[in-house]
Symmetry: D2
């Protein structure tokens, strides 16, 4: 849609999500990766030397020769930056870019819950991007930050949204089985995941219990009114490379039967589909009738890693519905989601 | 307690649970393994030749030379038989033993839900063994069947019982992460569990949703009155060898706070502890304060594999309490549970 | 190259290699899959019902509706059949097809070592296909069988061939780390591969020690003269889904230095590359300088799963060279290798 | 044997090997753990607070309350110290203890190849401990360092020694499949070992190729004459928790047949067995006839984790013999080996 390629930068380019972003930007119809930035340790090196490439597909041509810049708006000129920075540094760095007039699409948690920062799943709450106007005032220019939710929250909210619209969520209980790549590299030691699962991921329960209520909030003027349904989350790290599996039980205001719910899920489409954004999957939510699925290895690449897959839908003996949902944590849940959000900014004409 | 060793037989001796039973009977103070029985395919062979031994510890001395018998009361003379038979053959075989006047302690699902068959977790509902009197009438002699619950149900019911007694369960939602050994050998293909989890185990959801209500039933004369709380279960097979992890959310009639719940769990004792049965763990439920536990590899051998370990107890934003429980599926959940039940029969003087 | 699509059938279509063949035939420029055949158990059913699809990519359109035929030339009309049959039935079935005038490209071991049956790695010994003329006489018609080597042998021979040509192999010691998919589905029980490796695969040592000498044989008129170098193999099953890793030590008549060997490997091309066969990778052997590779997960898809990847080349303190080679066992090692061999038959004008 | 308990300290007490040492010292008949020491980060804390305990068995009573000391002879008083220090700090720290008159039994690589430092597998070369006399002169007192070999070398040398004695080793080719615990904690990232193996372990090839020749060296006066046979090693990290598997091919001066070799291995005994040292296994090398073993999960605990298990012995088509050997890398290969070496020092009266 844009008349010429938009130059973009990736912050935190050496990490796992940064690499996924770089891979996803290769051959992108709208964006051209012109700069990569990372921590002091890597800055000044050629990208190919700064960190080993950890994906199955080889790095895009040309990237290896880019000189890694520092995560500072003075060293990076692109008007649009995708941030895969670690939370320990993302807060200040992203703020500096916003104040310097850049559009920041962030995958980090630091600014997600700020009042005037949109936390967006593009199919679910694109209208929250209107908060950007208010946020610009704060930064005193044209720059702003928009955020991509936690990798588990994205899959969860994507499948909750159609049911919430249809029948109003009353309460949600979710139990996750999360892939190792969610912790980045080096991440989880293999000694913790050989013949084992770990029922703990630092900070994850809080994110899953709070973020969906902001994403499903109603925009009232320039203020969000958070959704009121409580979410209960418990999380587990399992010996799987990619793909977060969620086991969900929920109650709705108006009781839904499983067929009605499946129909709402599989027919769900959003603005990315209407606008045919480059990274948007045709169908955000796929439904499987195979009672042994979704499975991470078989289903994580559905829709190019951008679709959630829902299965095992049935009446819950305790709440209303019980089902499983799977989504790819470093594609839909990180790099792909971030990229799709950048595309949405362009399509809505929000770039500085 | 018995004045001399009681001869016992193991039916289904070549399978994984059968092997665990044989290992557990080695050096048992009350029981002496005198006969092993298995399917036609193995009958007549020496046990050491009939099937490869799959445990880390070597087979007990003397067992390899036992001739495998058919699963028929005419071929087996022991008054007490432990059945690790597969459900496809357990139904008829166990009935035949009961009719032939033997006490059958079964690990198979076939007779679990029959009205006059006790389904027992020894710490939880030993009084249900009184049903045996009524059942003997049906079989027309001194023989009877008592059953050990499903491997997930046992851990679940063990940790539910103290809370039910204290405050009355209203509803329970459980999500399991189950070990591969639960499916026996060969069981789950490795292609299904490398870089993967499978959200399906045939028949398991039904067992977990129904069995706890029978185990926590009230005995009214010679009839059980099932507990009324609904259970919602979803199950997952994960790449772990032994140890089923349960993620539980529940509501009680009287709301409990986490500390009160933990106190009830860790102070819980039952008849096996009072009677100091040989296989009874000192403490049926251990509580961990480490927020990263229970983990299968670290905690499955607690109490010699006979204790459940509870952790991550907190208030649930949706129901009352949310926590994790782990128990060893082939020890407490199968071989050990079966053996403990046999010991309880002896201690209560119920052997034919 | 052929002027119109050649109808082909897949025998053993429901197994893992059969599924890989079907996936690889989708959109093939020369071949059109018109028939699928499998064991009695599946025959008569629709393919989509006969067996669950086990690949990450969905089954090609149209395949699900094909009626599965019996593995009998009377039920299958295609002139070219790809056999992914199990060795227990492949022997007779393939012979029947050859006698019925069909060209059989087989992945099974049964006929591999027969004197007049070519055992071919298309880049290595395409000239062995001339044996087909002699074999036709035996079958009394136009039909014949050509065979694809064992999945470990293929990768091994592919990397041995350039070194053999250059300097003459004197002796080879190989130690394998083989993926679970090599055993098909259900194959290896997960209990054998969780926290474990198994130093045994039935029949594999013999195949790896004998097949390379036939593949690297010299064709003398219509007779093969086997290569004389001995091969010593030891094999291990490891918890990896796809990709066989080979650790190789070898001695050559003329001593090679590592750089010379790497140059010979990376510059190696064969008839499939010269003829630009559809399934041929551009470069049959890729060389990596990363001392931590080849690794199954990162390198198995090199060249679309059709290239071997060689790394860690160095002087061996005992023999001459020591290095690692990886190839995809169900693509290059089975379905892809079989397909490439079929293409070679067409290009050489050998179809009936 | 000693008339009273000898006070000992563990340096590097918080790591995986340190924890194994502490566990192994619990209830030791000769040694009493009186001090634990670790890096600056931990020093001053209570041991129970300094690092999470990572073993399946709980920490020995009393240890949690010990205050962690710095790795400095001024802070540690025990005359005998077991060092599980990381190689980055072990060099200087161990030297300081030796100079301060202490006996150091080290598991680190730093001093292993020094001319006057014994590198000992207690069953294989106890006589090398005589080098201690010469070393004391260097340190100017009663202190000295003795070293435990690399975790792969120990298993390898243990099984090579009887064959070397019997027939003289000419050359050895070994390919390893090594467990994750060999890298300590956190060690290998799970992303590297899910659906993968890694053919690289830093420095390991050199250690395996050089250490066996020192261990099998002849002591000539106070000088070692290294064995002359070359060793070729290639190494792999596999998704196994504990237990290094070695695939070995070798040639001997006098050709051995497999039965003769197995007899030499299973009848092998050394000084630890003659002296009945507390940690010595009855039989240092066990032989299995099961063609699917040794397997890490099933065999690593043989002899309490102190015996190597050998299987799959056969004639090698290239060298003389081909077989598999397994030993526990953190027991025999680290903590247990170190402890056994300490016991040997006591038994030989070498303590300061």
């Amino acid at each position: 849609m844009p008349t010429k390629q938009i130059p973009v930068a990736v912050l935190g380019a050496t990490g796992l999500v940064g690499q996924r972003l770089i891979a996803a930007l290769d051959g992108h119809p709208w964006f051209e990766l012109t700069e990569v930035a990372a921590s002091e340790r890597s800055a000044g090196k050629e990208y190919g030397q700064a960190a080993p490439w950890r994906l199955e597909t080889p790095p895009p041509e040309g990237v290896a020769g880019l000189v890694v810049r520092g995560c500072d708006p003075d060293e990076v000129s692109a008007p649009l930056v995708f941030s895969a920075l670690d939370a320990t540094v993302a807060g200040d760095a992203e703020l500096a870019f916003a104040r310097a007039g850049r559009a920041v699409v962030s995958n980090a948690r630091n600014h997600r819950m700020a009042e005037d920062v949109p936390l967006v799943v593009p199919e679910v709450n694109p209208e929250h991007l209107e908060l950007v106007a208010r946020q610009k005032t704060r930064h005193g220019g044209k720059g702003f930050i928009v955020t991509n939710p936690n990798c588990s929250t994205i899959g969860l909210t994507l499948v909750l949204a159609p049911l919430h619209r249809l029948a109003g969520l009353e309460r949600v209980i979710v139990t996750t089985l999360q892939a190792a790549s969610g912790a980045g590299y080096p991440g989880v030691p293999s000694l913790d995941l050989i013949d084992n699962v770990v029922p703990h991921i630092g900070g994850e329960v809080d994110k899953i219990e709070s973020e969906p209520r902001k994403i499903l909030a109603q925009l009232d003027g320039d203020t969000l009114r958070e959704a009121s349904f409580p979410v209960s989350a418990e999380v587990h790290r399992v010996p799987v490379r990619d793909g977060h599996l969620l086991s969900i039980a929920l109650e709705t205001r108006r009781s839904l039967d499983p067929e009605e719910a499946l129909e709402a899920l599989s027919s769900f489409r959003g603005e990315p589909q209407e606008r045919a954004l480059p990274t948007a999957p045709e169908q955000p939510i796929l439904v499987t009738k195979d009672e042994t699925r979704p499975q991470p290895r078989l289903d994580r690449m559905a829709g190019g890693g951008m679709s959630a897959v829902v299965g095992r839908m049935r009446r819950c003996p305790v709440l209303d519905l019980r089902f499983e949902a799977l989504s790819h944590n470093t594609l839909r849940g990180a790099a792909g989601g971030t990229l799709l959000l950048g595309e949405l900014l362009v399509a809505r004409g929000l770039l500085p």
